[in-house]
């Protein structure tokens, strides 16, 4: 089987087994790598931003340097840098300087992309507040618990539930759940429990 193919669109003949570092990239491969159209690359060449390929003809090939320059041109173009300014800049930079500048620009672009995915402070606070409002519970204890128990509030918890339960936090990690319809029936017991929860446990008989 031949290892050469013919691209019917461009009538370019290229070797599919070609090693990039040995032979370079075709304009199509270059376009694919940098994700710009072929016609854009030809435009950049015509504007003097990019040199033409090292070889002529249908199998014209582009080097790693072309690839680097083109990636940088793309980054600068995203920032709306005028063509003339890009031309001037690129004409003054060595290959190492292009690499360094490209690295900076790509890092900056990555940071901007990350920042765009991070919620703003207002969005962050809105999410917290929405969650707090959505799961608002009953008062967990009165403040402070008086000698005679106060009547408990009747706002139900999770109105969308079939059963309504009231939650009281007696201490960190200790909670009392009371079913809504048990309030009146068990009021004496409930008040005793809540009062008792405010009295410290007497360890060691002291």
């Amino acid at each position: 089987m031949s290892d050469k193919t013919i691209d019917s669109d461009t009538v370019t003949v290229y070797n599919i087994n070609m090693q990039e570092n040995e032979y370079g990239l075709t304009i199509e491969e270059l376009a694919e790598r940098v994700e710009v159209p072929v016609r854009t690359i030809r435009f950049y060449i015509s504007e003097g931003l990019l040199q033409g390929p090292g070889t002529r003809g249908k199998a014209a090939l582009y080097s790693d340097e072309h690839l680097l320059r083109l990636r940088l041109i793309r980054r600068l173009s995203e920032q709306r840098v005028p063509v003339a300014e890009m031309r001037d800049l690129l004409s003054r930079l060595s290959l190492d300087e292009i690499r360094a500048l490209l690295s900076e620009e790509e890092q900056r672009a990555a940071e901007l992309e990350r920042a765009a995915q991070v919620p703003s402070p207002k969005e962050y606070l809105s999410a917290l507040l929405n969650r707090a409002q959505a799961t608002r519970q009953l008062p967990s204890t009165e403040k402070p618990l008086p000698a005679q128990a106060k009547s408990v509030p009747s706002t139900p918890y999770l109105e969308q539930s079939k059963e309504v339960w009231h939650r009281w936090e007696l201490a960190p990690g200790v909670e009392l759940f009371i079913k809504a319809d048990a309030w009146e029936q068990q009021r004496t017991l409930i008040e005793r429990l809540l009062r008792a929860a405010r009295v410290p446990v007497d360890y060691m008989g002291r």
Binding site: A115, V118, P119, S120, P121, K122, Y124, L125, S126, L128, L129, A132, Q133, T135, R136, Q137, L138, P139, S140, T141, E142, K143, P144, P153, E169, A171, P172, P200, V201, D202, Y203, M204, R206
Partner: protein
């Protein structure tokens, strides 16, 4: 860099004024046992600042005042809280912005975020005059509403003002979320993601200091225990004065250890583990003013020796100045494995152990108080006794540490007899936390 301490300073400019922020790492000893050891490091932070006129060069402030208007605030407490809020606003100007929120079981934004102009102040005065005490305490939602009122639409790193929420309450949170650990976690998240710090003011004997204290620690702010209504104004104004003098904001220490090591924070600060690096932790210090210094004590655990000659602890300081994040270079302290004879003969650095002792005592008192208040009298007693014994071993001729040991023993006796009365428990908690964090007490005197 100085050879012993790994000193590193960074000079950054704030509105044309140099800000020098220094981190030094002082280990108690340098040798560690081949079978494993614990060692303390004192992370010393200092902010130098060329004195300037505060009102000329200071950072603008974005402030949320969140006031409890629940039923128990009726009378003098609410009246004084309102006066204190107005005192704070009177000291701000158009560079600053503020919002005012009141809460009971409903949350009302009395004044949305706006520059603190004369008209703004008059508007708040009029609005607050109409606020009366009402029902229960939706502290969590009230606080979040205040924070949201001052949250910006742009990332906090681009903001060039200091954002803080002042939360004043006299009672237990009893509506909405009430879990102290969850709320403290949210305070840490709000500080990190929204750049908004939280300072808490608990008034009287009924609020939960185990909620307000950690909220402020995690939120990079300060917790204040107010014994009477008359202390509200001084403390509000004192805290404000602190904010108006901030030279380095959102200060944190980032610490990296080696695999197998542990790090236990002794001082009263909030620690975050890194989500991407399990060997890195971040300790939230908060906002620092000119000439301020802090000691942060961490105890490191070292594993048994497995061929390596030692272990390394790295740290750096990160903070905000002029709206941009600054950091010091990473510093390193190396600990070398050695045999028992060498380890035993190495003396502990007395200056380091002085701060270790004070912070250990503070932590023990705070933890014992919580046990005591929950009814675990035996647990409180044992904790204090244990720490007193440890401190006796290294206190030596340090008179302040010796006095601390006596105080711990006295507390152990007091706490084993009965739960401390709430006023005393709160005052002790406040004193210990304040000392550990180098915090000023503004209750009687206001700002210095």
């Amino acid at each position: 860099m100085q050879s012993r301490s790994g000193d590193h300073s960074n000079s950054e400019r704030t509105g044309g004024t140099p800000v020098n922020v220094t981190l030094r790492m002082y280990p108690e000893r340098r040798f560690i046992r081949t079978g494993g050891s614990f060692r303390y490091i004192d992370f010393y932070i200092r902010v130098d600042h060329v004195p300037t006129k505060v009102n000329v060069d200071r950072m603008p402030l974005t402030l949320a005042l969140v006031l409890d208007r629940s039923g128990s605030m009726q009378g003098e407490k609410l009246a004084t809280a309102k006066r204190a809020a107005l005192s704070v606003l009177d000291r701000l100007d158009e560079r600053d912005s503020a919002a005012v929120v009141v809460f009971d079981d409903r949350i009302d934004t009395v004044q949305a975020l706006a520059p603190v102009t004369t008209n703004f102040k008059a508007g708040v005065r009029k609005a607050l005059a109409e606020i009366e005490a009402r029902a229960s305490t939706a502290l969590h939602e009230g606080w979040l509403t205040g924070c949201k009122a001052i949250a910006s639409d742009t990332p906090p790193l681009r903001e060039r003002s200091l954002a803080r929420c002042f939360l004043l309450t006299d009672g237990l949170a009893n509506v909405g979320m009430t879990d102290p650990e969850q709320i403290a976690s949210e305070a840490a998240g709000i500080r990190e993601h929204a750049g908004i710090g939280t300072s808490t003011f608990g008034i009287g004997n009924d609020y939960n200091e185990s909620l307000l204290g950690p909220m402020a620690v995690a939120g990079g702010g300060q917790f204040h225990h107010l014994r009477t209504a008359s202390e509200i104004a001084n403390t509000f104004v004192g805290e404000l004065g602190n904010l108006l003098s901030v030279a380095a904001s959102q200060v944190r220490i980032e610490i990296e250890v080696e695999s197998g090591m542990s790090a236990d924070l002794v001082s009263a600060y909030w620690v975050n583990a890194s989500s991407t690096n399990t060997l890195r932790q971040s300790i939230t210090i908060g906002d620092l003013v000119s000439d301020e210094e802090r000691h942060v004590i961490v105890r490191f655990g070292f594993p048994k020796q497995h061929g390596q000659d030692g272990q390394t602890v790295r740290a750096r300081l990160v903070w905000m100045t002029d709206g941009s994040e600054q950091s010091s270079d990473w510093q390193t302290v190396h600990f070398s494995y050695a045999d028992q004879r060498i380890c035993d003969s190495e003396l502990r650095d007395p200056k380091v152990m002085h701060w270790v002792g004070l912070h250990q005592a503070d932590r023990a008192q705070r933890e014992a108080l919580q046990l005591n208040q929950r009814g675990d009298l035996q647990g409180a007693h044992e904790k204090l006794k244990k720490v007193a014994q440890e401190m006796e071993e290294y206190a030596g001729g340090d008179q302040e540490l010796q006095a601390e040991v006596k105080s711990l023993r006295a507390s152990a006796s007091a706490m084993s007899a009965a739960p401390l009365p709430s006023p005393e428990a709160k005052e002790r908690y406040y004193q210990q936390q304040s000392r550990s964090r180098g915090q000023k007490d503004y209750r009687k005197s206001g700002p210095a």
